[in-house]
Amino acid sequence: MQEQTKSVEAEKAKGFDFKKFVGKMGPLLALIVLVILVTVLSPGFIQPNNLLNLLRQVSINAVIAFGMTFVILTGGIDLSVGSILALTGAVTATLLSAGISPVIALLAGIALGSLLGFVNGLLIAYGKAAPFIATLATMTIFRGATYVFTNGNPITGAKMNDSFLFQFMGRGYLLGIPFPIFIMAIVYLVLYLLLHKTTFGRKTYALGGNENAAFIAGVKTKMVTIWIYTISGLMAAIAGIILTSRLSSAQPDAGTSYEMDAIAAVVLGGTSLAGGKGRIFGTLIGALIIGTLNNGMNLLGISSFYQQIVKGIVIIIAVLLDRKSNDK
């Protein structure tokens, strides 16, 4: 009898590990398959230059999506990231054009993004607004503020391009690698540690898994919520700086619908929209899947109209597969 129970448990253990493996590695396997497919169809894809180009394209979405991962892990959503990106980009560009020191201009942009995220957090934690509604509202407010601030015109200026530091953010190379890729890597590393190795990360999962139980176990749920939206705003600001530097101008409609790509990356990476389950590694893979799709379809000369349809279909397939592996 004892023996029997043991073998049953051993079997269970095996089954469990396999499931875990697929659950963890599913997105990565999908990415590998996709890369092979695109390479076969268009061998130019695998060229180092194209791959670096792809990673640079991915970096903006990835940085936003890393922040979004925290938000979605708590069961929330942040629709305002695209608007925060535009407003912080515009403010940073204006400060630079006015001849303010680039260090101060960049820090001001980052501080503003954090502040806007903080406002989201306040509305959600203390105003008890549903995250979808709160950030839908701030999305249009921040976008409107951007138009007011810029008068609807792009901000460009000779002084902006004078700053080496600012130029470097989006267009620089370090050891032959575009600098935005370094930014993405650093942000990933910091947020990875924050999520998986600090008490803040544990509290994020706890909050998303069961807010009541987390509160009773001593988690300051409101504080954690506010911090998480602040991080999301901060990430949007960093993305805004990369984009503004890359384009050498701040467009008032920059970042429109970027929230959708970020959410897609998080979901493709296997994070549950219900909260409590997911990993930031998955988000990185999700962002790479989206980037590979975009890049691959461009190489294959597929019209951007069709590209949108394909992206949508990929998301649906990912969600269906996820459901299946969760059910069984």
Partner: protein, 499 residues
């Protein structure tokens, strides 16, 4: 109608769940099905109603071999299963819930609400209740929802009704009402399969009782021919000795002192002391305010006035975090909603209240957390493959031990336990009692809220009885009886004085 299940076997993969179970029930009797969690009761019932196929054995209905294709088929043939977690649509009205998927339509295919309302009222009045059928079902108490479930069953002309832990969330009054209805329907020829952990109820309501253990049916008795000790022995497969362990308390100094705590309309003028090493039980009817008092002390809910003293010093506990810092732990009555994060691992659940203590250079020291969780799981005999499995995958008793592990691990000196053994099987119950004794031996003070009177009398040193938000008496457990506590709990003492 007579159902006979003979030699039923079932395995999920290599895991044998049922091995030759016999069970029979017929119209006009209440047959209780007892056993620890995981004994196979639910599986047996799911085979009867056709949710699962069986791997061996046969089901005879009135002597004919029968198998139902699923719960709906079983229901149409007069077997109705009332689950513990009722699947009601809380925002929808009583009548809409009752007629869901069975709506009465007029000749234009439109829903005939008047007719449905009339029928719903008829069935409910048969059960001796006049619930407003237009109210959203979520606004009614669980007891009332239970009655509505029974009304639904008789609406489908059920001959046999299966009830799974029907009283788990009912008040004493509601249980009385439920038993009245069961007895009435029994007279009309309805048979019941009654699954329950509560011994007292079995003896009150059941004609027969079958005990299951580890996938076999151990024994069947006429209830009148058997006693509680025998049933417990059958359930756990060994002698548990007395159901409640002996307590040998040594009280230290006063650790917690609550003075005149008041939240208007909820509780009023609540004062009590707890000593090191003491178990103070909070007894009373559900809704008397016991849980609310504890939530206020733990900093979850607000209170208008009153003071809390720890070790003689006045403290202000503004949220659970500060309660934990003062080394108070709170096992809440609803472990799924407030006690556990079901999707998280046992490790993360156990470590959550103490997590700030595991930080080295800003990062969590995972190895220490693993050891910490493992140690506590061993100490509390949590049965699980390892500390990485999710809390949701454990049985009720083991989940409760995980919640306890969390508060033992956080170093609680005062432990508030709200219904610590609800939905927990007999074996695990005893282990929880033993642990309570072990903790009080180490000078931990325990406040135990319980609606289970034998438990209150068996496991406490003092009993504070709450009636309508006020403490109606604090008595020594020695010398207290179920009757004396119940008198205080129902305001009987006040009435006696008034007379």
């Amino acid at each position: 109608m007579k159902i006979e299940m003979k030699n039923i076997s079932k395995a999920f993969g290599a895991n044998k769940v049922l091995e030759g179970v016999d069970f029979a029930v017929e119209s006009g009797e209440v047959h209780a099905l007892m056993g620890e969690n995981g004994a196979g009761k639910s599986t047996l019932m799911n085979i009867l109603t056709g949710l699962y196929g069986d791997d061996g054995g046969e089901i005879l209905v009135d002597g004919q071999p029968t198998s139902y294709s699923g719960p709906l088929d079983a229901e149409q043939h007069g077997i109705s299963f009332i689950h513990q977690e009722m699947n009601n649509f809380l925002e929808m009205s009583v009548v809409d819930n009752m007629f869901l998927n069975k709506e009465i339509k007029n000749k234009f295919g439109m829903i005939n609400e008047d007719k449905m309302r009339k029928q719903a009222r008829e069935y409910l009045s048969k059960l001796g209740t006049n619930i407003d059928v237009d109210k959203p079902i979520g606004t009614l108490s669980v007891g009332r929802q239970q009655l509505i479930e029974i009304a639904k069953s008789i609406m489908t002309d059920a001959k046999i009704i299966i009830m799974d832990e029907p009283t788990a969330a009912l008040t004493e009054n509601e249980i009385e009402q439920l038993f009245g209805v069961v007895n009435e329907l029994k007279k009309q020829g309805v048979g019941f399969i009654y699954i329950s952990h509560r011994m007292e109820e079995i003896f009150k309501i059941a004609d027969k009782v079958t005990v299951m253990r580890d996938g076999i049916s151990v024994n069947e008795y006429m209830t009148k021919d058997v006693d509680m000790k025998q049933l417990v022995r059958d359930m756990v497969g060994r002698e548990i000795g007395d159901f409640y362990p002996d307590r040998d308390p040594h009280f230290g100094k006063t650790i917690l002192s609550v003075k005149n705590l008041t939240e208007k309309g909820v509780f009023e003028d609540v004062s009590f002391d707890v000593h090191e090493g003491e178990i103070l039980a909070f007894s009373g009817l559900m809704g008397a305010g016991r849980t609310e008092i504890m939530r206020a002390i733990f900093g979850i809910d607000h209170y208008n006035s009153g003071e809390i003293y720890l070790d003689g010093k006045k403290v202000k506990i503004k949220d659970p975090e500060s309660a934990i810092k003062h080394r108070i732990g709170f096992l809440t009555e609803n472990r799924k909603d407030e006690g556990l994060i079901l999707a998280d691992s046992l490790r993360d659940n156990i470590a959550l209240p103490s997590i700030n203590g595991f930080v080295k250079h800003g990062l969590i020291d995972d190895k220490s957390v693993d050891d910490f969780a493992n140690l506590l799981m061993k100490r509390l005999t949590v049965k699980a493959m390892n500390e990485q499995v999710t809390a949701g995958s454990l049985s009720g008793g083991n989940q409760q031990k995980v919640v306890l592990a969390k508060w033992v691990g956080s170093g609680s000196r005062i432990l508030i336990l709200d219904e610590p053994t609800r939905g927990v099987d007999v074996g695990a119950k005893r282990e929880i009692y033993d642990l309570m004794n072990e903790l009080t031996d180490r000078n931990v003070a325990i406040i135990m809220i319980s609606s289970d009177l034998p438990e209150v009398l068996g496991m406490s040193d003092k009993i504070a009885v709450v009636y309508e938000g006020k403490i109606s008496g604090i008595v020594d457990t020695k010398g207290a009886t179920q009757e004396s506590v119940m008198t205080l709990a129902t305001g009987g003492a006040d009435n006696a004085r008034a007379n």
